[in-house]
Amino acid sequence: MDHDNRDRNAGSGGSPPGKTPGDSWADGLPKGRRWSGIAWSLLFLLVPVLGTATFVIAPYYDHWLPKDVSVHGKSIDGLFYFILVLTGVVFLATELILFWFMWKYDAAASSKPATYIQGSHTLEVVWTIIPAATMLFLAIYQMNTWADVKMRRPRMAPSVEVVARQFEWRLRYPGRDETLGTEDDLFVVNDLHVPIDEDFLVQLKSMDVLHSFFLPNLRIKQDAVPGMKIPVWFKATETGTYDIVCAEVCGWGHYKMKGRVTVESRADFNRWLARIEAEQKATQRGPEEIPMAAAD
């Protein structure tokens, strides 16, 4: 900064940057070069350009939402895309305006003083009301999906109890009597089986610390909290085997708290249950060997 402004009396008199008549407007700050203003505005143009490009290209490389195999997942994904478009438009508009102002109002590009304006009542009202209305719409628009996923619980007995524990998922199927907590309950670890196209109700518990029951392909995530029984439900729409991930840090082994969920036809599901039942009878494995969370 080699411009001289060491006026000891700046405090009482201000520092005249020296505008002599006929001169172009001087604000006392060093006048940059035009090319540097252009370069900096182009740098900021990269933000919307590369930002958008990233989101456009990523899906082609399979860096995108994993395949959804649930009913409610469709509306979650729909909402995701809706917000993506909405925020994308706002992102592009504001970043492009920023770029344009940077390009246009570079001090090196003009010899005029800045516009003296302190605000605009009209604009403030407009840019408060429009986002307010949009956000309110969004808030109301999404409520139904939320209610479907977390509030409108299907009227049925739990299809399985999932008990999270450092660092595994313990599953307990109700067995033939379709009631949890009875003699014929079936025990499995990390291997969840789910019949396709049927409402499936999980009763989620934890026996030690917090965990989170995350099924990326079923768009399900719910923390497991010791002391609570939390219902989680979904309807799977495609057969296959998918990941179960723990999404809440639960200690050193958190990263390997992995399970699999197999979506299969009702017939396959029943066959699988029968096999588990047979195995369990054969080995006399029961609740004593697998400590479950405290009785209900």
């Binding site: 000891r8 006392g28 979650i76 808030a139 917090l210 909290v225 958190h254």
Partner: protein, 608 residues
């Protein structure tokens, strides 16, 4: 206040300055009271600045270690690997959990919060309101020295058995309350809680002081609505601190007693951890989350509002234009602060909290996006029609706006409860808070450092290297953090030492490696900043009082200001943003310049 008529106030009593002059006498006690246990707000501000910058470096290195593991899990860690060689040179998973916990804890509690309020707040508040110091200089000194126990507790926790805290910076029980649940839940967690409490004490002392000072010690003529945005932001931040902090402090003590004497506030009935009964029962883990976020959501604004204020001031100076919508800007900060208290539940949508309550928090969260939008539009309005000077400070300030747009918009995804089901605890969140905290606040802090450096040290920083620093940081930061949105869209979970054994995530390693390269570049770039900083402190060009031709009061004081700050009693005649007033021969009217005939007419015309 409008009765002030004396344009040239007489020089103030200069007795204060003699005090500084006597430091030549080599008395140790004078040295200590001037530089170490100083009660001068400027010295305290700089003490905060230097301490937090050191922790910024530590936090950055922790982040690199986190990134190393995410990109190349279980591979030997270069250099550092030898220091903590548990498994050859590779990182143990419990070490990884400790790393991300301490990275965030250090960045939040020892860097961002104290650098904004402690360093900038202290240095700028008296100078910008025309006071000779803070209202309570001794409290002020204590607010700095209470950071040292926190530095000690956090620092020492790395060396205790089991290592530092490893339950995440959010420290959710029972993982954090049960000492057997993880190695880091031992002594490290206790020290973490003590450190947190000390940071709280420091912040509380600071905020009481800032509120009092801003209310009582403004120069003649400095009405509330003539305060620069920086001061408004600091003022509202101080109020936020004062109301939110007691809750965190209480919660911290509850967690401490849970751990030490088994009070069981957060431990449920019949909990079995590591095959042993744990906790007295009768408690509720989710209670901690409510208490923690009741503080920590307002805290995210504590971590950005001051930067917003500073950026507003810097934008006007280098656009040579009045701030667009001064009052809406003030009201929107107040709005953010007010709403900030009723949105904490958006961190807990899937925590097991009543889902109907989630809807309430969702609506409040949608509403808090409004004031943020208003601020962004007004910043754009401020540079519209300006005469923009691309100084380093201005580039950082503009990038704050550009990046805050991204961080604000990604927030809308997470506010939408159904979408949050999928992206909660994924890298989408990590992307979000780094856009607001790093690309936002940290860039704002750099803008502030380049801008006020001349006032702090009487010299300007090197502009060329400043711009190199800006350019590289800007590129690397977007390379590191923008891509995290994409990881988040795949559902890539945060806090996992190795996620590639999941079918869903196994193909994401190359992208993560790219991000880690960018992160390393970003940290390396800060060497340029460090050299520029120290070189300019001693060798930079002498700055003079007002190197940027800005309007606010600090620029009327000598650079650096002596003890007592002003050699004239500043008297304020106008708001802080009178740039380019039509009909005025000067391009800016400082707050202390006597009334100018062109002003009244211009002001009347300018309210469109």
């Amino acid at each position: 206040m409008s009765t002030v008529t004396q344009p040239h106030a007489p020089p103030k009593d200069t007795a204060h300055h003699d005090h500084v002059a006597t430091r030549g006498s080599t008395s140790l006690s004078t040295f200590l009271s001037t530089y170490v246990f100083s009660k001068d707000h400027k010295v305290i501000g700089l003490q905060f600045l230097f301490s937090t910058l050191v922790w910024f470096l530590i936090g950055g290195l922790l982040a690199l270690a986190v990134r190393w593991q995410v990109a190349w899990p279980w591979s030997d860690v270069p250099v550092l690997g030898k220091l903590f060689a548990q498994h050859g040179g590779q990182m143990a998973p419990e070490f990884y959990t400790m790393l991300f916990t301490m990275h965030a804890s250090v960045m939040i509690f020892l860097v961002i919060i104290p650098i904004l309020a402690g360093a900038f707040g202290n240095f700028l508040i008296p100078l910008m309101i025309g006071a000779d110091d803070m209202a309570f200089p001794t409290l002020n000194m204590l607010s700095y020295w209470f950071m040292w126990p926190a530095f000690f507790f956090f620092g020492a926790s790395f060396f205790v058995e089991g290592g530092a805290a490893a339950g995440g910076w959010t420290s959710y029980p029972p993982l954090s309350t049960s000492t057997v649940s993880a190695p880091g839940s031992g002594m490290g967690q206790t020290l973490w809680l003590l450190g947190l409490t000390m940071v709280g004490v420091s912040s509380m002392l600071g905020s009481v002081n800032y509120m009092t000072t801003i209310i009582l010690m403004r120069a003649p003529g400095m009405t509330m609505f003539r305060l620069p945005m920086t001061i408004w932001a600091m003022f509202i931040t101080a109020i936020l601190q004062a109301f939110a902090l007691p809750v965190l402090t209480a919660a911290g003590f509850m967690q401490l007693t849970d751990r030490l004497i088994g009070t069981g506030f957060f431990s449920p009935e019949g909990n079995i951890i590591n095959n042993a009964m744990s906790g007295a029962g009768g408690g509720q883990p989710i209670l901690w989350q409510h208490l923690f976020w009741f503080y920590s959501h307002p805290a995210v604004y504590i971590m950005i509002l001051p930067a917003m204020g500073m950026v507003s001031d810097i934008l006007t100076t280098f656009a040579r234009k009045p701030l667009f919508g001064y009052r809406p800007m003030v009201y929107s900060i107040a709005g953010i602060a007010g709403l900030g208290f009723i949105v904490w539940g958006h961190h807990m949508f899937i925590s097991g909290m009543n889902p109907a309550l989630g809807i309430t928090f969702m609506v409040a969260t949608m509403m808090i996006a409004l004031p943020s939008a208003v601020k962004t539009f007004n910043w754009l309005g401020t540079i519209w029609g300006g005469r923009i000077h691309y100084t380093t400070a201005m580039l950082f300030a503009i990038s704050f706006v550009s990046m805050f747009i991204i961080g604000g918009l990604s927030g809308i995804f997470m506010a939408a409860t159904p979408v949050d089901i999928f992206i909660h605890d994924t890298y989408f969140i990590v992307a979000h808070f780094h856009y607001v905290l790093f690309a936002g606040t940290a860039m704002g802090v750099w803008a502030g450092i380049y801008y006020w450096f001349p006032k702090m040290f009487g010299r300007t920083m090197n502009e060329f290297w400043g711009k190199v620093h800006f350019f590289l940081t800007f590129m690397f930061l977007n390379g590191t953090f923008f891509t995290m949105h994409i990881l988040g869209a795949v559902g890539f979970p945060r806090r996992l030492a190795d996620a590639y054994h999941y079918e869903t995530f196994h193909h994401l390693q190359p992208l993560n490696a790219f991000m880690t390269w960018c992160a390393m570049g970003m940290v390396a770039t800060q060497i340029i900043f460090a050299i520029n900083f120290f070189w300019s402190m001693f060798r930079g060009p002498i700055a003079g009082r007002n190197p940027w031709n800005a309007n606010t009061l600090e620029w009327t004081a000598p650079s650096p200001p002596g003890h007592g700050n002003f050699d004239f009693q500043p008297v304020v005649y106008r708001g802080p943003y009178e740039f380019s007033v039509p009909g005025c021969e000067k391009d800016h009217l400082m707050q202390t310049d006597p009334p100018h005939p062109a002003e009244a007419a211009a002001a009347a015309a300018a309210h469109a």
